[in-house]
């Protein structure tokens, strides 16, 4: 009952859109509605079925969890919790069942880095480029996904990929709850972003929680991301807080969005696909 009530709210609540005309906004809502409806009809938990494939680069061996699927889309990255949460594997399994192949590389272990925010900035993109090259060979349209500070890495990857593979464009990138500030926020001053912001022209979708102060920065971030030539969509998810998928005290909407993340991802990929 709570789930249905929240779904209704998600569809009807007035939310903030950036760079989206009314027509597009209506269609995003429809997309989310459709995805959530489909998922609500099949709420049984997905089994995490994947194979681990290793990629050797010059200085690392990267293990990638591959959730195979028959569809024409491939999602590379990790939607939440740096690739180690239960919800993430369940999300990947659900996506794979719906035809979206998911590759989840374990970057921190590959480079023997501690699970810290600062570690992410030390990860070179060459290993991920090698994985991308293998992903491209599948013939599927490739999309990148990351959450929180991890979004810096995929923006950097997109920039490097575009500079070296001009004839092989990627489908887009999904930035879930991006944390891209370079410095501590300073009241009264606009944020200073990581260098990778505004350097790619990849279509981008930003998802942000409504109950986090970061929601007030979505417009500013969107404009900064557009500087690279990207089409940028943004969407607020009602009633969820920042890092909701890591919280020990999730509320009903947070529980729902965590378990139904695949619906949001599918709706986002739909719009990223339309940006070309």
């Amino acid at each position: 009952m709570h789930i249905l009530a929240y779904t209704y709210k998600l569809i009807n609540k007035s939310t903030h859109y950036t760079d989206m005309n009314h027509y597009t906004a209506r269609h995003l809502i429809s997309g989310i509605f459709l995805s959530l409806s489909l998922i609500l009809l099949s709420l049984q938990p997905a089994n995490a079925t994947y194979k681990v494939t290793s990629f050797e680069t010059g200085d690392a061996e990267i293990d990638v969890r591959v959730f195979k699927a028959d569809g024409d889309k491939l999602l590379l990255g990790f939607a939440c919790d740096q690739g180690s949460s239960v919800a993430e594997e369940a999300t990947a399994s659900t996506l794979a069942k719906d035809g979206i192949e998911v590759w989840m590389p374990d970057m921190l272990s590959a480079y023997m880095l501690p699970k810290l925010r600062s570690s992410l900035y030390d990860i070179p993109t060459d290993g991920l480029e090698k994985i991308l090259e293998a992903a491209v060979k599948t013939g599927k349209k490739i999309y990148l996904v990351a959450s929180g500070p991890d979004t810096e890495l995929i923006l950097r990857l997109a920039q490097d990929w575009e500079s070296k593979h001009k004839d092989t464009p990627l489908g887009g990138a999904l930035l879930m709850f991006p944390r891209l500030n370079k410095t501590k926020p300073e009241p009264g001053k606009p944020p200073v972003y990581q260098d990778a912001v505004g350097k790619t022209h990849l279509p981008l979708m930003v998802l942000e929680g409504e109950r986090t102060p970061n929601r007030w920065g979505v417009g500013h971030l969107t404009n900064a991301l557009k500087k690279g030539g990207s089409t940028v969509y943004a969407k607020l998810i009602p009633d969820v807080r920042g890092y909701f998928f890591k919280r020990n005290d999730p509320n009903v909407p947070e529980d729902l969005v965590t378990t139904q993340m695949s619906g949001l991802i599918k709706a986002s990929l739909f719009f990223l696909g339309r940006a070309h």
């Binding site: 501590k184 926020p185 009241p187 009264g188 109950r211 986090t212 102060p213 929601r215 007030w216 920065g217």
Partner: protein, 183 residues
């Protein structure tokens, strides 16, 4: 013994996370943007009407954990400054939440200062606020003098002294600003 050490370490960490932030001298256009909002109890409050007082203008949200933790220290700060007859006012602007959500929080946390409602977030945008809690310490002549992001013990001696200094004769404050410009 190990248990006590662990608990002490946890307490030390907790304290440090609340009081880690520091007041930072504001560099930029010091003239505060206009701000007129309705308080939680329905009164219209304007920042411009507070001239002659030091104002702590805080942008906060009910889901912001540091905001919740630091509000009791803001109550204590008011009492300390009242004791020294320092003209001071706290205006705490809620960032885009509903009256019901804010009232529930207020009933629980019991802030003893003015809570202002900015349900559309217009002032959040006008003041360039992108995080919570975001604090502006405004001098008696209406100029932003310090900012602070994050949770802090507001009744700490250092902050009380800074506010008392700011509250001194506004003409002295103006002279001090001129001296800063010259140097």
């Amino acid at each position: 013994m190990f248990k006590i050490t662990l608990i002490s370490a946890f307490i030390a960490f907790f304290i440090s996370t609340v009081s880690a932030a520091e007041l930072k001298k504001f560099e930029g256009d010091a003239l505060a943007p206009a701000l007129t909002l309705t308080s939680l109890d329905g009164k219209e409050v304007s920042l411009q009407d507070q001239k002659g007082k030091v104002v702590l203008l805080q942008f906060w949200a009910t889901y912001c954990t540091p905001c919740r933790k630091e509000m009791p220290s803001m109550n204590k700060l008011i009492k300390k400054l009242e004791a020294s007859k320092t003209p001071f006012k706290i205006l705490a602007v809620n960032m885009g939440e509903t009256k019901d959500e804010v009232q529930k929080f207020v009933d629980e946390v019991k802030p003893e200062f003015t809570i202002l409602m900015d349900e559309k977030g217009e002032n959040v945008q006008a003041w360039n606020v992108f995080a919570a809690p975001s604090n502006f310490l405004i001098g008696p002549k209406g100029k932003i003098r310090y900012t602070l992001y994050g949770g802090v013990d507001w009744d700490a001696d250092e902050i009380v002294t800074t506010i008392k200094e700011l509250a001194k004769d506004p003409s002295k404050e103006a002279n001090k600003q001129k001296e800063e410009v010259k140097s």
